[in-house]
């Protein structure tokens, strides 16, 4: 029986070309009004959601782990604006923003954080483990780096099926030091799989700065040994992310194999809720917040260009806050899972 597929997994047909020729990062696009407004709203939704999650955690409604995405919103929103229906997203444990960007309901995400019956995983997953087949979101993974191989498998499945989809696999600067990431790079390059590896470099692997953890802190070069092109992207500027994403996704869709985007970004909060972030100065955080905030950048642009008034943006904020407040109410009133759920969905 002849295989259906196109992408050859023969090792003889490999060799992605060197980075510079393939991937320039030169198409820095300006946003039009609709794009800026969309980016503003999407990023704000994530920010307000995360602020609320932080509050609920402090009030004891959320237990266990809770990793907030505040500061990094431009990365997923810019990526999502470039993706097509069917592209798969997989990420690690700082995942609430990815889920919201994928279009998953705020209610279901928040209710999973509070461990309730109508959370996306019915309370079995918690903050780090949520999925949605409908939205092509493949988790939500709590083991650092493990999702990178799974994302590579998704890309293989795309190639095998001969569809036009690209797997978008996120991981952090910490995960970038895991061995299985390089096993995945090798296979993806060998088999020319359609995957964008996104390294969200927020400078700290929990409390260890990149300077203390890595010999090569330019993560965009991490695929060079396999011929995987990569580039550094201003991950605080949603337009830069979108432009890089457009080029990276096109690279994958045109059959050129994997590509790496290193997103230079920053998380304002600690690694998790129990992290006071004493490994960095307050000035450092404040500087990022006041000079590079991804949402403020868009806001300033909207006002300056006359695309929106302060009142317009306040209305967006109100709308977003309503969605978040509704999700928080839902997440506190939704019943806890029945004890009989304990033994469901282990095996068929």
């Amino acid at each position: 029986m002849a295989p259906r597929k196109t992408a050859s997994v023969s090792s003889r047909k490999t060799a992605a070309k060197p980075a510079k020729k393939e991937f320039t990062g030169s198409n820095i696009a300006e946003f039009d009004r609709d794009q800026d407004l969309k980016a503003y709203r999407e990023m704000l939704l994530i920010r307000r959601f995360e602020e609320k999650a932080g509050q609920l955690y402090g009030m004891g409604f959320i237990g266990g782990f809770c990793h907030l995405y505040i500061g990094q919103e431009a990365v997923v929103v810019g990526m999502q604006m470039a993706q097509k229906e069917g592209d798969q997203v997989i990420t690690a444990y700082r995942d609430h923003g990815h889920m919201l960007a994928c279009g998953m309901e705020a209610r279901g995400v928040m209710a999973e954080l509070t461990g309730r019956r109508n959370g996306y995983s019915h309370g079995k997953g918690g903050s780090m483990h949520m999925f949605s087949k409908e939205k092509h979101f493949y988790g939500g993974h709590g083991i650092v780096g493990a999702q990178v191989s799974l994302g590579t498998g998704l890309a293989f499945a795309n190639a095998y099926r001969g569809n036009d989809s690209v797997s978008v696999a996120y991981f952090g600067d910490g995960a970038a030091n895991q061995g299985q990431v390089y096993e995945s790079f090798n296979m993806a390059a060998l088999w020319k799989l359609p995957i964008v590896y996104i390294i969200e470099n927020n400078r700290y692997a929990m409390g260890t700065s990149t300077a203390r953890a890595t010999a090569q802190s330019n993560y965009s070069l991490r695929g060079s040994g396999f011929g995987i092109p990569g580039m550094q992207v201003d991950g605080m500027d949603v337009r830069a992310v979108k432009a890089a994403a457009d080029e990276a996704l096109e690279h994958c869709r045109s059959g050129k194999g994997p590509i790496i985007l290193e997103m230079l970004t920053y998380r304002y909060r600690g690694h998790s809720m129990s992290d006071p972030a004493k490994y960095r100065s307050k000035d450092e955080v404040q500087k990022m917040r006041s000079e590079y905030d991804p949402i403020e950048q868009v806001k300033a642009r909207l006002i300056e260009k006359g695309w929106a008034t302060e009142d317009d943006l306040k209305a967006v904020d109100k709308d977003v806050r309503d969605i978040v407040a509704d999700s928080a109410d839902f997440a506190q009133s939704d019943p806890e899972p029945d004890v009989s759920e304990l033994y469901t969905d282990i095996l068929l």
């Binding site: 996306y120 995983s121 997953g125 469901t344």
Partner: protein, 337 residues
């Protein structure tokens, strides 16, 4: 019907499955061009092409992780881990991703993968090519663990495993690849071509996962075994002249507890046999279950016959291996009690 070795039976299972379902892909180290270190995948790449049967780099963690992602999207990867001993780099992916993706996605995503892995001693491979790590899998909820003891079962169980919607660890005792090894290493192995369980249908059939088989009915003592040890137990029983009932578990998870309980309730005595090391081995689970379910029928303590609590030795392979003499001593012990 054809005569097949266990290698041929396993190959036939993959062949039949690939023929029937385009979503089945076979890959692993050396499985494509080379045909597998034990030749289990020989000819499959020539027949199905490099997209469906292919070589992977030596990256067990990456291989298994990739297979899980493929499976989440709907493919059915049948992966060869070259030796069971090589699965440790992938153990994270097996336990934390494959076994749990159904649970934590609330059934949204499943993981229909099979990891085939040659297991056990028999080729003087020493401590890194002889291990039986089944208890490391049976301790993980969300996995199925299958160990065939003959070509007929190997093919039927492997087809069932490939068609199963959940991750299956398929341990192939390499001592049985070419014949039903009875533990007498100084005697030539009878080839499968002279054994009734070497008769294997060429087409599709499957054996349900979770059903044990009674290899020898008896009334005096129950011997619970799987894989290579089924044949060792049968040899020991014949040599001792004991009317033992020998149960071949075939699947450790799920476990056919009913068959064990029925047998031990009848015989009142039980010997558990496996090649893996003793402490916290699967035999401990079996012994615990037998005492929980058959306590008032037991005439003697449950006895385990296993590999010693040592790394698998190279030169002393046959001192380590729980052969018919040791099984025989255990039988005598429970019969005297």
């Amino acid at each position: 019907m054809a005569r097949m070795t266990m290698i041929e039976a396993v190959r036939s299972a993959m062949d039949v499955s690939m023929e029937r379902d385009d979503d089945v892909v076979v890959f692993g180290e050396d499985v494509g061009y080379f045909g597998g270190v034990f030749r289990c995948t020989q000819g499959l790449q020539a027949k199905y092409g490099k997209t469906r049967c292919f070589d992977a780099p030596i990256s067990e963690s990456g291989i298994v992780g990739t297979a899980i992602g493929m499976a989440a999207y709907g493919l059915k990867p049948c992966v060869e881990i070259q030796f069971a001993d090589y699965m440790y780099p992938a153990y994270d992916q097996i336990t934390q991703e494959a076994a749990r993706i159904r649970y934590r996605s609330n059934g949204d995503f499943t993981c229909p993968i099979v990891l085939r892995m040659p297991t056990g001693g028999g080729i003087f491979g020493g401590q890194t090519h002889s291990q039986s790590p089944e208890a490391l899998f049976t301790h993980v909820c969300g996995l199925k663990v299958v160990v065939p003891s003959n070509p007929y079962d190997a093919k039927g169980l492997l087809i069932a495993s490939i068609e199963d919607p959940d991750p299956v660890m398929f341990l192939e005792p390499k001592r049985l690849y070419n014949g039903p090894f009875d533990g007498h290493h100084d005697r030539p192995v009878t080839p499968w071509s002279k054994h009734e369980l070497g008769e294997v249908p060429e087409g599709h059939y499957s054996i349900p996962i979770g059903k044990a088989e009674i290899r020898r009915p008896g009334s005096a003592v129950t011997v619970v075994a799987y894989g290579t040890m089924v044949h060792v137990a049968l040899a020991a029983v014949e040599e001792m002249g004991v009317d033992a009932e020998v149960i071949d578990l075939r699947s450790l998870l799920p476990l056919d507890l009913d068959t064990i309980v029925q047998s031990v309730s009848k015989t009142g005595r039980c010997v558990v046999v496996h090649e893996a090391t003793l402490t916290s081995g699967y035999g401990a689970e079996l012994a615990a279950l037998v005492q929980e379910h058959c306590f008032y029928h037991l005439e003697a303590p449950v006895v385990r016959v296993t590999g010693w609590d040592t790394p698998y030795p190279h030169a002393q392979e046959w001192d380590y291996f729980p052969g018919p003499a040791r099984v025989g001593r255990a039988l005598a012990e429970v019969m005297e009690a």
